[in-house]
């Protein structure tokens, strides 16, 4: 009825359950004994070793063409893989962005040479990418970026600062979003994307500790960095449209409601098989939310598979999903008397603390709640 409210039922393809069993046994083999506090890190967990193992199984870039190292599986099979990994709290952070965003961007807009060079390495779990969008003066207002690439004889010269770049200190490359056109152009024009190696001269990466005291994101300074011409991704000046295309993929995945799943699991474990009606109602409510979000997210995955761009639906899933994730620790803490402490030997107390530290970020990263609701309002025809 409105753009953005299409959540038609999509069922997982035949064979999905057999594939799920395969993923489960892989997880069992490689991650048995992982601590709750580590599982609570969810897609923030970074393990090159685990990423390479996934790559060896053909489970990174699994929907991509075989000639680029992909496995030509469907988006819905990929969905099954992702939800099983996330539900197990697998450390998927190393390759997550490259698999979800950078790879698909190159597939769609990259040159043949770029695809041939980078996609197979991403798919093997060897090449990790980060997102260079935010800047000191450009958060929600992405069009306000100041970092600029200027054409010279040898290539593009880049100057500026990127901020909040997750795992820049452990990634090899970045998809840099910056200005290439004149300022006077329309707000969304004159933007371009580049694939940048983070060890190039002129790039300085500085850690920023987060509220958990952990080094997750960074500040990156570009000083006269020379970017070869062949590292422009897509068309000069089309960066804005290209980025908007990425966002439907970024926003609707199961990571938008499973970030706090480890805590839910620890809660249920700690409550035991007969927790009483009050606790049953509370966890049953969470189950109802989770099962519904999952259906919505699968619907979006099916629509993406069918070649549509359900960007309003994606915003809606992320808004509801991150709200759910944020609520989870608030519900959990009142069901079990326990004080959150990340270093605790008690799995619940540790997962509770870890989830609470990261909870504020759920509705910031990848587009704030308010920005998402603006997108939904546009879908309703209000803007």
């Amino acid at each position: 009825m409105y753009q953005g409210l299409n959540f038609e039922a999509v069922s997982l393809p035949p064979g999905a359950e057999a594939f799920r069993a395969e993923v489960k046994s892989f997880i069992h083999e490689h991650l048995a004994g992982m601590k709750p506090v580590a599982r609570a890190d969810s897609w923030n967990g970074f393990s090159a070793e685990f990423s390479r193992k996934l790559g060896a199984r053909g489970w990174i870039g699994m929907t991509w063409p075989k000639k680029y190292g992909g496995a030509e599986r469907s988006a819905l099979e990929r969905y099954v893989l992702l939800e099983e990994l996330l539900a197990a709290g697998a450390p998927v952070g190393a390759h997550w962005i490259a698999d979800r965003q950078s790879g698909p961007l190159l597939l769609r807009f990259g040159t043949e040479a770029q695809r041939a060079e980078f996609l197979p390495r991403i798919a093997r779990g060897e090449l990790y990418m980060c997102i260079g969008m935010s800047e000191p003066d450009s958060g929600s207002d992405l069009a306000a970026v100041r970092t600029r690439a200027v054409r010279s004889n040898e290539g593009w010269r880049v100057n500026g600062r990127k901020l909040w770049t997750s795992y820049a200190h452990r990634c090899h490359g970045m998809i840099l979003f910056c200005r290439t056109g004149a300022k006077e152009e329309d707000r969304h024009g004159g933007m371009s994307q580049f694939l940048v190696d983070l060890d190039w001269p002129g790039i300085t990466i500085r850690p920023i500790l987060n509220i958990a005291g952990e080094h997750h994101f960074n500040e990156i300074i570009f000083e006269d960095v020379l970017v070869p011409f062949d590292r422009l991704v897509g068309q000069e000046g089309q960066g804005w449209a290209q980025v908007m295309n990425e966002l439907a993929f970024e926003r609707s995945g199961p990571e938008r409601f499973l970030s706090a799943f480890a805590l839910f699991q620890e809660l249920v474990r700690a409550l035991g098989p007969e927790p009483g009606e009050r606790a049953e109602a509370a966890i049953g409510r969470l189950v109802a939310h989770l099962a519904t979000l999952r259906r919505m997210s699968i619907s979006v995955a099916g629509q993406l598979q069918a070649g549509r761009t359900p960007d309003v639906e994606a915003a809606l899933v992320k808004d509801l999903g991150t709200g759910f994730e944020q609520e989870l620790p608030e519900v959990a803490r009142l069901l079990l008397e326990s004080e959150p402490f990340a270093g605790s030997a008690d799995g619940f107390a540790a997962a509770l603390a870890q989830t609470m530290y990261y909870a504020p970020s759920f509705t910031l990263r990848g587009g704030t709640r308010e920005i998402l609701r603006g997108i939904i309002a546009r879908g309703l025809g209000l803007r």
Binding site: M1, Y2, G4, L5, F7, A9, S11, R20, E83, A87, A88, F261, F264, Q265, E266, V268, R269, L271, G272, P273, E274, P275, E277, A279, E280, A281, A282, I283, G284, R285, V287, A288, H289, L290, A291, T292, L293, R294, R295, M296, S299, E313, L316, D319, L320, E370, L372, R373, G374, I376, A377, G379, L380, G381, L382, R383
Partner: protein, 350 residues
């Protein structure tokens, strides 16, 4: 699409006068004839038992449309009675029907007494009993089975109430109530009453999801028309954010309700999917009704305006056939039994 066809019929046949008259106790005869002619009463009952022989998802489409247009009369209740008759292998009776019991606390018991039967117990808040041509009751027989009992409402002691939307809800009382064997169909199903309540919950979820769609459509339209401070209130970001929240709740409700019917349609155990639907949609109903009213200002608080036909139904339906807590407990109990390791397999199987 069936949903669109149903919406068209309801737009023409179930206007404001019809709704108001129904609240005053007048049965919507003209509308009823149209519903019956369109085959909307028993969409998923097999043809040989008097239905249309369609899929459970057809039932979802019709109820969603009925919720969206706040259709007066016992459509869902007649549908539920039809389901019950068919589940017992009985041909669906003609005309408007009622079912009982409709909540988790009421039980009816049937005993044999000198060649006949006696019915005992009370069924509260039965929808549209007096207007029904027959009331279909589920009673426990004491031998582990159940029985379907068919009665005309005239002979039953009834106390009339209503829900917040003015839909009749009646208490039926049976004390040493004698009935002939021809009115009784015994079935081997021990949990017939539970299955009736589950189907009823799925129906209320479908109605509520549709009603939320109606609230959203009205609120968005109103926000585009009402001008304050020199512009349409829908241009204010605060209003937009609330409407986006309402859209989210509506989308979640539609997804959850359709999910329940998807599970019913596939066959097998649909308990968890129905519990998800009633719990999630019920929660959305409260949030959605509140946002709908906030956006409509004082105008939406008047009897004159149409919004209340939807919101009063939402407030009523979420408590019928088990409120959110009831169904959350069903899910929470299953999750607790599944335990930490079993939690995800349980959720991903719903």
């Amino acid at each position: 699409m069936l949903f669109d066809a149903a919406c068209r019929l309801f737009e023409e046949g179930a206007g404001k006068e019809c709704r108001l008259a129904a609240e005053q106790g007048e049965f919507p005869e003209a509308l009823w004839v149209k519903l019956a002619d369109a085959g909307f009463l028993h969409p998923s009952v097999p043809e040989e038992l008097g239905g249309v022989g369609g899929d459970a998802l057809d039932e979802f489409a019709i109820l969603r449309a009925a919720g969206r247009h706040a259709v007066p009369g016992p459509l869902a209740d007649t549908m539920l009675a039809g389901w019950l008759a068919a589940a017992c292998g009985v041909k669906v009776p003609e005309g408007p029907l009622a079912v009982a019991p409709v909540n988790f606390t009421d039980r009816l018991r049937l005993h044999k007494a000198a060649g006949n039967y006696k019915l005992e117990g009370e069924a509260r808040r039965v929808a549209w009993a007096s207007a029904a041509r027959e009331v279909l009751l589920v009673a426990e027989t004491g031998d582990g089975g159940s029985a379907l009992v068919r009665l005309e409402p005239g002979g039953i002691r009834r106390a009339r109430e209503a829900n917040m939307a003015g839909e009749p809800r009646e208490t039926l009382a049976f004390r040493n109530f004698s009935l002939g064997a021809s009115l009784v169909t015994k079935v081997e199903v021990a949990d017939l009453r539970e299955r009736l309540l589950q189907r009823g919950a799925a129906m209320r979820a479908a109605l509520m999801a549709g009603a939320l769609e109606g609230v959203l459509a009205r609120a968005v339209t109103y926000a585009g028309e009402r001008v304050q401070f020199g512009r349409a209130i829908g241009k204010f970001q605060a209003v937009q954010q609330e409407l986006a929240k309402l859209a989210g709740q509506t989308a979640a409700a539609l997804t959850a309700a359709e999910g329940a019917y998807g599970a019913i349609s596939r066959g097998g155990d649909s308990l968890a999917a129905i519990a998800v639907a009633k719990a999630r949609v019920g929660e959305a109903a409260g949030i959605g009704a509140a946002i709908g009213h906030q956006v409509h200002g004082a105008m939406g608080f008047t009897h004159e305006h149409d919004l209340h036909f939807l919101t009063r139904r939402l407030w009523s339906w979420r408590d019928e056939f088990g409120n959110e807590a009831r169904w959350q407990i069903v899910l929470g109990r299953a999750a607790a039994r599944a335990g930490g390791e079993g939690l995800w397999p349980m959720v991903s199987a719903i």
